[in-house]
Structure formats: structure tokens, C-alpha cells
Amino acid sequence: MIPNDIKITDEMVADHGLKPDEYQRILELIGREPSFTELGIFSAMWNEHCSYKSSKLWLKTLPTESECVLIGPGENAGAVDIGDNQAIIFKMESHNHPSFIEPYQGAATGVGGILRDVFTMGARPIGALNALFFGAPDYDKNRHLISGVVAGVGGYGNCFGVPTVGGSVNFHKRYEGNNLVNAMAIGLADADKIFLSPAKGVGRPVVYLGAKTGRDGIHGASMASAEFADDADEKRPTVQVGDPFTEKCLLEACLELMKTGAVIAIQDMGAAGLTCSAVEMGASGSLGIKLDLNKVPCREERMSPYEMMLSESQERMLMVLDPEKEAEAEAIFIKWGLDFAIVGETTDDLRFSIWHDDEEVANLPIKELGDEAPEYDRPWTVPPKQPELTDVPAPGDLTEAILQVVGSPDNCSKRWVWEQYDHLIQSNTAQIPGGDAAVVRIDGTNKAIATCADVTPRYVEADPMEGGKQAVAECWRNLTAVGADPLAITDNLNFGNPERPEIMGTFVHAIKGIGEACRALNFPVVSGNVSLYNETKGKGILPTPTIGGVGLLPNIDQMATLAFKTGGDAIILIGGHGTHMGQSSYLRDTQGREEGPPPPVDLTLEKKHGDFVRTMIRSDETTAVHDISDGGLVMALTDMALASNLGAKIQIPSDIDAHISLFAEDQARYVITCKPGKTSEFIRNAETAGVPATRIGTVTPSALNIEGHVTISLNMLKTAHEDWLPNYMAEA
């Protein structure tokens, strides 16, 4: 055990991820050399993960307010109002590096962490999503990573009892050695009973609840912010193991306790565990916190104060309780078999004071620990624009090209993944994975929540600003396509090393794009997470700002789905035929080219077209709805056909090359179907709204027929779309 009063060396400072000038700042702030425990506390509070030192400046530019926002960024999760005194609380968070080191446990604890963020606020989780990014299919570690991550996401969520209803899976060379696991959770709470972290009242008990503290993930938070070196395989940090059973008990205990009125403030122990949670509770409540570490329930012997303060053991909560309700609280903790202890009290001196064996091992100014964390305006460069594409050759065989696109790793069905997730538990799942957005009914009402997670990293790479806009627009569009009013988003910004100006430039522009789209679509950011330093061997990942959206369906009977319903229904294209082929799936999947600018996003059109589609859904004018994204029109038609086992007969314009109109990825577009007799009325409605709507075909009993070009059987489409992933995972 390293003694607390050890002399702090430059090397120790560096080992703690603190730069010399940051250490200088610490010395000035406290006027003396820190103790070893204090150094640990600073390193935890001031690392990128907790302090957002590189991103804060830019995050502040995002819009965070609208009529429905109850709580914006800053708390454990954001909250939106869905009427009837009900609130939806949601957030997304990454667990990237831990999932590379130990895929199962890394992913599992990622899910556990985000669920805790949501139920800390008094919400019962009603849905979970996961956005996963892996290396190219030929990467030798891929199957190990995919099977572990998927089993881990499922293993935790299934046991905990939350339906995992949506997500995404993407493959790209640039995630090799640095796969991404972004987990999102959505909870339901009474709008007037949301629990927050600021402590209130002096001399009140600070209570520790949940699992015992072990030496798990010590330096985990620092690990999450340290660039991976090539020898990452050799590093064997203490991996955190998830215990979803304890988490489920913790959930029930917390919700039961909250009903008693005993909880004054509550904060989950996430990254940097006890340190971050205690500082957050004290600082935000303008109170000091005094902790006696001898009271902390420990799993291992002889844990040092340093270790206890930095442990990232999972399934733990910290709260300030009303002393008069202590007995009631205790009964609940015992009922659920959880460890608990009064580990400290609130004070009026604004100090963070840590005691162990009757010795004060740390005494720091609590507010400054957070407020005085460094904040950087990192230098950035303007990302270069990609030259326009000049040649997009037609495929030798159009059928072959279609099968390649609908069956490519990114576009293929992710059934192999989501069938490992319990997506039905709680009995409220109205749309299972496979649609544009998942839909979950609000228990006991006729309302429902729609949710999805989106980003197209190759677009962001090619043009960070347009790509950032596109991620938000696609999310908004997916919610719209099921008939929901998009309410708000959570964002998970996964980028490389911000100390590289070109990467910082990507980050800055993606945020600008996200902000612009959020403003235009009245779709504010209520929570989020930043994960930087995602790179291996000096090469960053594709910039990946994952957008998790939530929308409200006031009446679940007016939900739209993408499956064709009846032969003879008219197929209508909203938003016109596309021509944009830059960064398209077609280019990538049939020609191995990732070139050109991504499709530009016209937010005015996006809003206009989406609002029109939603209005039509609400007035029962549509029978099926699907947005157009990766893979273009033909991908959308394939999804609709395969979901229904019905086919389509499609006419495409003669003045555009077939492969262009089928594969273009222009934005703000949808495919809808309506009863044949309602077609002209529908088109008239669109004209009135100023929305391009063209009848492009008819639903048929079988096969996808692009008139004058190809007819592909549903079976062939299905084999291409459904078989790629299971076959890939079955190979050695």
C-alpha cells in the first residue's frame, strides 16, 4: 500500500494523467502538496471523462431547451415532459475501452451504468438501446468482440429486466482495436418526483447503498481517457464485473425508498465512484461532505483510502437521507439484501474531508474540485471538403448490386444481435427491433414512446458538419416514420485524440452540425456523454456522434410500421428521386470506394417533409411508412417487403440512371403506402403542403420488380439481408 503522505513526484503526476501545468494549478489551489489520496481524487475529477475539459466549451453551444424539456444536461440524465405528470428520463453513455479489453463485462457494466443513471433520478427503466461499432469484417478479433459485447449487453439487460428495443451495428476498419459500445436507457418517472443530486441540509447522513467496494477498475476513469497503445493487449487492468441481479435489487430498493420520502439527494457511483458522486452531491448543493472510510462496506481486505476513493465497483449508490426516516430506509435495504452504511455527513464548510483510521487523508475545497477543473480551447482546423464525385459507374449486374447493398455488413439485418436481447419484457413493446424506431407503450395509458439511435460515421468523416446534421436528422426522421413527435435527444460523442487539431476540428464541426439540426428541428439535447482519445496506433476512429432520440406518440393506435400491409396498396415516394451518390452504400459495397461528400442536409425540407408524413400518419392516410437512409430507395423497399412477405412493382424515372435513383442517399425522404383509392387525395395533400410526392408503384404478392430493370424474389433478398451476420458469426 502506498502511504498517504508519500512525496508526490513528477512521475506520479504523469501516471495520474495530469499535465505539469494542471498539477501546478492543484498546488496553487490548495497551497500545499497534495496527499496521495488527494492526488487520486484530482486525477479522477480532472480527467477528460469527468471534467469534459476539452469539450465543455463546445457542448455549451448545443440547444438544451424546448417546451417539453424538464431537465437538461448536468444531471445524471435528461428529462422531458410527456404530459399527465409523466416524464421520460434518458441518457446514452459509452463503455468503449472496457469493452475492448473484456467485451462481455465491458458491455455489461456499460449497460449497468446507464441504467443506474436513469433510476437514480427516480425513473423505472422501460427501454434500452445500444449502438455498436466494430472493425471491418476481416479483423481477426471481431467475432470475439461482437459475441462478447452482444452477450454482455443482453446478459445485463435481460437479467435486470429492461427491454432492449433498438440500436445499431456498424463495421469499419477504423474501429479495429477500438470498438465502440454506446448504451442508452430510457426511464419513466412522475414529473413532480424526479430525484436530483444536490445535497440539502447540514449534518445529514450520507448513506452508501448497494454492492461492496472492491479494487475494481481503479484508474478505470483514467483508462477511459487514455489513448490505447499497441500493447493494450498486455495491459490487464482490474476489470469490473457486472452483477445485474444486485442492480435489479438496487432499482427496486431505490424506487421503494423514494416513495417513503426519505431520499433528499441521490447520486449513482459511476466513473471514479465515491469521489465523483460525493463531490457532485456536495458541490451542487453548496455543502461540504465528510466521509469516514472505515464505514465503507469493502469486499477486499486492507483497502487503502486511495483505493476506496477511486474504486469503480458497480451497483453502488450514494445518498443523503432524511435522518428521521433512517429506520424505514434500513428495512428496505435489508429486504433487498443490499449492503448499506452511513459513511459520512453533510457539513457547512464546503470541504471534501476524508477520514480513515482517525486520520484525515484528504481535505479539499469541494466546489473547486469541479469548478476549477481545467477547461481547454483546443486548437482546431477546418476539415477539408471532399471533392464532388465525377464518376459513379453503373453496376455490371443490377440484381447483384442490390443484393450486395441489402446484404452488406452495415445494411444487413441485425436480428442475430437483437434476438439475444429480451425486447418484450414489461409487455409494452409495440415495435420490436427491425423498424425505424422502437415503440414502447406507457403502461396504463394509450401513449407510447418511440426511440432510436443513429449516426452515419462515414458521413461525419467526410464532412463533420453535414454528418453531424445528418445524424440528428436521421434520428428525427426515424421517430417521425413511426408517427411520433420527436421530443429530444441524448448524444454520445465518440472521437479520437482532441489534442490533434484535425480531430478537434472534426469534433467542433460535428457539434456545430448537431446544434444546427437540433435548433431547426426543435429537438434539443438533454443529456449526453463525450468519449475522446478513441484511437489505436495513432489513428483515430471514424468520428462517431451517436444520437439517441425520444419521441412521443399521443395515441398508440396511430402508430405506423414499415411492413407493407396489403397487395394493391399504392407506393409513394416522399421527397423526390435522389441523385446524391457521395459516401453511398452503393459506392462502398459494390465498388469498395468511400468517396465524395455525404448527402447535404436541408433542415427546412427535413422538417417540412417529416411534419407532412406525421400528419398523414395521424389522419390514417398511410398504411406503411419507412424513411430512406443508408442504401437508398431500394434498401427501404427491401425492408418493407421483407417485413411483410409482400413484394412491390416499382417504376423509376427514365431520365436518371437506374442505379442512381435506386441507391442515392438524399435526405428528407420517405416511402409510404396508402390504400389505392386514396392515392390522388394523398398526392393532392402533399402538393398543398409543398411536399414532393410521387406514386412509384404498387404492393404486390411477391418479388421486388423494378420495371424494365430487374425482378428479385423475396427469398433472394431475404437470404442476402438476413444471412450475412449469422453466417459471419458462425465462421471461425
Binding site: 479489453i101 473484456e102 462481455y104 463485462q105 454492492a211 472492491g214 479494487r215 475494481d216 490487464r236 482490474t238 476489470v239 469490473q240 464485473v241 452483477d243 441481479f245 444486485t246 469486499r299 477486499e300 465497483s313 458497480q314 439484501g337
Partner: protein, 80 residues
């Protein structure tokens, strides 16, 4: 030859199963025991010229598949 392999969690790694088992043993009235840890156990038949060769082969299997060496240790025994 027969190989027997014990796979156990490394020291300090949380063992939720062991914890749950202790709870159950307690409520069944057992006393005077502690530190229950759950691991895995494998048996397999192996062809090899000698024990050392068998040992080496099984070690390779452990490293590549049977144990998750990030969080687990393993112990191999080869029997005639």
C-alpha cells in the same frame, strides 16, 4: 489421457455467483464457512505422446478458449 481443468476468477474480481451462493447457504442454516468462489471445471480426453505434450496442448486450449485470462486463472491436471 484425460485432462482436468479448473478455471477460477482472479483474486479481487467480483464473483456475484459466489456471493449469491453464500446468501443461500446462510438461509439454509449453514455456518462456519466463508469465501465461496465459483469457477468452471472442464474434462476432456486428449491424445498426446506424453504428459508434457498433453499439458502444452491443453494450456493452448485454455489460453485460446477455455479461460478468459483477463479475469480468470486456470490450472491443468493430466491423468494417465
Amino acid at each position: 489421457m484425460k485432462a482436468m481443468i479448473k478455471v477460477t476468477l482472479k483474486n479481487g474480481v467480483l464473483d456475484p455467483q459466489g456471493k449469491a451462493i453464500m446468501g443461500s447457504l446462510n438461509s439454509l442454516g449453514f455456518e462456519g464457512y466463508d469465501n465461496v468462489r465459483q469457477g468452471k471445471y472442464f474434462e476432456l480426453d486428449i491424445d498426446a505422446d506424453n504428459k508434457a505434450a498433453a499439458q502444452a496442448k491443453v494450456k493452448d486450449m485454455c489460453e485460446k478458449l477455455l479461460a478468459n485470462t483477463v479475469i480468470e486463472n486456470y490450472e491443468i491436471e493430466i491423468a494417465g
